[in-house]
Symmetry: C2
Subunit: 162 residues, 2 copies
């Protein structure tokens, strides 16, 4: 899992509005669900198959935060590790639209939805991404918008002092 | 970590707008940061102390998603495991305001910011919570708003059919 950075990284100027990145896929196993739930989300319906069947989820499903962390890993492997990211700023409007059931394979797509220079740091830009995560049937299971700070090749041109 | 549900759970009707819940604290160790980063967020500045020092973070810091997952665990232990939660719906406006550095101790507070009946399921309600996570100096490191589905003791009164 320890991916060295590629020799050629993309900088802020190399990113394009509307660019779409396929982030690959991950299959959620029973062991992954139990392990995550024990550590981070110890609710009965993530820890016990009988409790899960009786719950709103209708069966064993991953914690929504686990789906988020798996998506982060896909995003890192397929995109963030190849750009000059300086870290995440936050995200908005995360929605868990359907449960991710045991055995499901999720895949994710990121679309570059915004690119602007940082107002505080002329040598960096802010990258906005829309993420859509689907299951193997094509149903959307999670959507979110994410903001990331990316280093630029050249500082932004300064406004003339007024 | 496997906390059984308490014998007496609180239902939707037992929750109060403005109620504030202290969620306890967690200390972020070097091993926790490396372990998480290897599995979910393998960026150099989460995996290597020298790279971390040169990064915007200024030193080894946890992945923002790790801070989120630790907060989820605190929320589960101190609150969600004691109410009749049916699962999370999503969240909005997550902001990482300051990095969580190695050795920092985070603590979190949840405030009940909204309570309304589900329009689709009269036997459930939607709980909105504002979460504030601070470090040991009292600086805010993460804020977010979270929506959770909670079972009610009694179905909502039905509107007369028009």
């Amino acid at each position: 899992m320890n991916n060295p950075l590629p020799a050629t990284r993309r900088y802020f100027e190399d990113l394009h509005l509307g660019e779409t990145i396929e982030l690959g896929r991950a299959t959620v196993t029973r062991e992954m669900i139990f392990e995550w739930a024990r550590e981070f989300d110890p609710l009965p319906f993530h820890l016990d198959e009988e409790a899960a069947k009786k719950s709103l989820l209708g069966g064993l499903a991953s914690s929504g935060w686990q789906t988020g962390a798996l998506t982060l890993r896909l995003l890192g492997e397929s995109f963030l590790n190849g750009i000059a990211t300086a870290g995440g700023l936050g995200f908005s409007d995360l929605k868990w639209k359907k449960p991710v059931m045991v055995g499901d394979t999720i895949s994710a797509t990121a679309t570059i939805a915004g690119l602007r220079r940082s107002s505080h740091h002329p040598e960096r830009g802010i990258l906005m991404m829309d993420l859509v995560v689907t299951n193997q049937k094509g149903d959307e299971v999670m959507t979110m918008s994410l903001a990331n700070l990316v280093e630029a090749r050249e500082p932004a041109a300064q406004e003339p002092a007024s």
